[in-house]
């Protein structure tokens, strides 16, 4: 299976196809077609979703771009679907699912992001921090759309691992966190132990985040990964869980809409304020709303055992029983 792309259309954008899917954009919308149907989305929303899917390598479980389109990660290969998690589409038998090699779909999305993202628009930025996604093709923003996700092997600031951020290294304090203390811990290491005593200001590190709704790994206790993110406005994707995931609200507030993963039926709203801790069960999908930029610690278990546990039905659906 090979991705194809056309010459630019009247708006200056290429059309892409992979497998049974085609993707075209005009000044306002993306149009997706598949053998049994078609769908349109706001182009800004589409680019924000594709950007996360690419940056996260399809993440854990399901990334719904909206109530119709999305991807499901099988860790090495990935499904692209239309209507698979929408009862009406399934009932009408117009839903569609196709499996791709991970790199093939990623390659198609990466090429699309490069061609469809205009100069001055950053799909990673909050709406008040970037330009417009709309209009005819004008330039590109490859510097923004090819950013690499930070993945610390042990902990940010440990010698040889990911460095801390600073204004001098190109990370200004985000406008929503201008009041966050930038003081650093006082480290007093004995001679010979200078490289083994490590501490950093985690909140200040997050206040210097230049992307919105994008997790990075700051510490790893074996397979237990701290994946904090700063969140403002709406999480672009509706994340469908394939495993239990935990949220720790470090600052401010996020309200989560929680739906049944397979049908989209509303199950709950989870209101998280600073200091709150909550799990997302393995059979839901969720989307968060943050009126002010907030710090969210997403806690993941990256164990390579889990895909097999999921396939065998052995992975817990709920975090704890009591």
């Amino acid at each position: 299976m090979t991705m194809t792309e056309t010459t630019p259309n009247a708006s200056g954008y290429k059309e892409f196809s992979v497998g049974g899917f085609t993707f075209s954009r005009d000044e306002y919308f993306v149009t997706i077609t598949w053998p049994t149907g078609s769908h349109q989305m706001d182009i800004g929303q589409w680019l924000r979703c594709v950007q996360r899917d690419v940056a996260w390598g399809f993440f854990y479980g399901i990334i719904n771009f909206d109530e119709v389109i999305g991807t499901m990660n099988h860790y090495g290969n990935v499904d692209m679907f239309a209507g698979r998690f929408n009862e009406a589409y399934r009932r009408a038998e117009v839903d569609y699912n196709e499996n791709f090699d991970h790199d093939e779909l990623l390659g198609c999305f990466t090429a699309m992001l490069s061609d469809w993202t205009n100069e001055g628009y950053d799909p990673f930025a909050a709406p008040m921090e970037t330009g417009s996604a709309y209009g005819p093709s004008r330039g590109d923003n490859d510097e923004a759309v090819t950013r690499q996700r930070v993945v610390a092997q042990r902990m940010v600031s440990v010698p040889g691992d990911e460095p801390i951020r600073s204004d001098d290294s190109g990370f200004p304090i985000n406008r929503g966190f201008a009041d966050v203390s930038q003081d650093e811990p006082v480290i007093s290491a004995e001679p010979g132990y200078e490289d083994q005593v490590s501490s950093f200001n985690f909140f200040a590190y997050l206040s210097l985040s230049y992307v919105n709704c994008n997790t990075s790994v700051v510490s790893a206790c074996k397979e237990s990964l701290y994946c904090p993110t700063t969140e403002e406005f709406i999480l672009p994707v509706i994340h469908g869980n394939d495993r239990v995931e935990w949220f720790v609200q470090l600052s401010d507030e996020i309200q989560w809409d929680v739906e049944d993963r397979d049908t989209g039926a509303k199950r709950a709203r989870v209101i998280m304020k600073a200091g709150d801790v909550a799990a997302m069960p393995a059979d839901i999908r969720h989307q968060g709303y943050a009126p002010k930029r907030s710090m969210l610690l997403v806690w993941e278990n990256g164990s390579p055992r889990i895909p097999e546990m999921i396939a065998n039905g052995e992975a817990p659906v709920h975090p704890v029983a009591f």
Partner: protein, 170 residues
């Protein structure tokens, strides 16, 4: 600092004295499935240096620790990470002469006093500061007041489970 709209933002962090707990608004679900708690509420009701789990994912846990006075020395077989969520904590690190814990074990263990070996140093950590507690080493906490630490670790012999007391049930 203001943004281009002139707006000044106030970032809200929680503390033992000031936290505002959210919750689960159920539409068609069981609130227990979300294991919803608030770490400051948990720390308010905890004994000093109890390790109360507030999150669990298979063998991995996040523990809330009420830091008050001086803790016992503990040895950890794997890296742990202490994030101060409220107050101020001094963390002492120690390099033991002999291994104190099986490197294949999980979670830290308490020690009977300071082990033989060499002091590695100390960290004075305030709100938002994260400190590495290195594998194979020993550490202890001290707080002149009351502080709250969130510990990223693995379930161990001293992990305390209190889900029915700390989580929203209805």
């Amino acid at each position: 600092m203001t943004d281009q709209t002139g707006r000044q933002y106030n970032t809200v962090f929680g503390s033992l004295d000031h936290y505002n707990k959210g919750g689960v608004e159920v539409i068609s679900d069981n609130p227990k499935y979300y294991a919803f708690s608030n770490m400051f509420e948990v720390a308010s009701a905890a004994r000093p240096y109890e390790k109360v789990a507030v999150a669990k994912n298979l063998e991995y846990v996040l523990e809330v620790i009420r830091a008050e006075g001086t803790s016992e020395w503990r040895a950890t077989p794997h890296d742990e990470f202490a994030l101060v969520m409220d107050g101020s904590v001094e963390i002492e690190l120690f390099d033991p002469e002999e291994p104190l814990v099986d490197p294949d074990a999980s979670g830290s263990i308490g020690l009977d006093g300071q082990p033989d070996g060499n002091p590695m140093g100390r960290v004075q950590a305030g709100q938002g500061h994260m400190t590495l507690l290195p594998a194979g080493k020993a550490y202890r906490f001290h707080s002149d007041g009351v502080a709250v630490v969130l510990l990223q670790t693995i379930e161990g012999p001293d992990t305390v489970y209190r889900w029915a007391d700390i989580c929203q049930t209805v």
